[in-house]
């Protein structure tokens, strides 16, 4: 289980999506790392990858809307981080298909995705929550 409660931002829509994203990445890793042969699991790996690609874009979009709504000052920098990750995901997916579903490439992708996602949600996204709380406190004053 990848998800930890400390990742929660206190924003229901974003937290729900983060949980879903972690569950999807978890399922992707479990399938990718199971001991069966590549031929046996490649179809399931491809299906999970396809869904995840769509979900990542949708989640980033919703999170950016939220940042704009609260006037998050780090919006532009955060949007760039999202855009770079989407570019990387699309580039790897295209290369993966072009190479005929290369297992090595997918293992490398999964390793980076795991570390990137944990850092992004545990560090970058927490700054949004900190700002939202600060802004809420100011509004209460």
């Amino acid at each position: 289980m990848l998800w930890k409660d400390k990742y929660e931002l206190g924003v229901p829509l974003i937290d729900t999506q983060h949980r879903e994203l972690f569950q999807r990445v978890d399922a992707f890793l479990q399938t990718l790392r199971e001991s069966s042969s590549w031929e046996e699991k490649v179809q399931r790996v491809n299906e999970t990858l396809e869904f995840m690609n769509g979900y990542v874009v949708e989640h980033f979009h919703d999170e950016e809307i939220y940042q704009k709504k609260i006037g998050y000052p780090g919006y532009e920098a955060h949007r760039k981080i999202h855009a770079e990750m989407v570019r990387y995901v699309l580039q790897v997916t295209a290369e993966y298909k072009q190479k005929g579903f290369d297992q090595q490439l997918m293992q490398q992708f999964a390793g980076k995705l795991l570390a990137w996602l944990i850092n992004h949600v545990a560090a970058e996204d927490q700054r949004i929550a900190a700002y939202a709380i600060e802004r809420g406190a100011e509004a209460d004053d």
């Binding site: 293992q107 999964a110 390793g111 990137w116």
Partner: protein, 158 residues
Amino acid sequence: MQLSGGRKQMTDNLYTPFLEATRNVFQLMLDLSDVAESPAEAFKCDDEVDVSIGVTGDLVGEVIYRFPRETSLNMVKIMSGMEIESVDDFVTSAISEIANIISGNVLTMLAGEDMKCDILPPVLKKSDDSREYAIRTACCISTSAGNVCLDIRLNHAK
């Protein structure tokens, strides 16, 4: 090149931002709160994953992150929650991304002292001892997940 006080202090002691960034990243990503400095001489390992992060800008060179095999496996186990038995492409890629994240955090600290640097994508490679560097220091740490050593090899841009 004449450096301002803050910049000079920062480059004279690059050890500190690397140690601080490693500590922060390990705490946030791996829940490791027992990150302690350890003497570079004590770091001995024959079976390790070496990740090089190239540096460009006001400082030029590389930082080599030396992760012993056991440390690499433990770190990926903590992140994934899965039992991992061998250092394969999945493990080296995850470890490389951690090196990338630590280096990115150091760049942010350097930018605070008006030092503009950028990093190159991580590369798996053994250290090349043939080049000379004005800044050469090692930042070694010990944690309950194992030891890690950062070999910092940088020159000031001309």
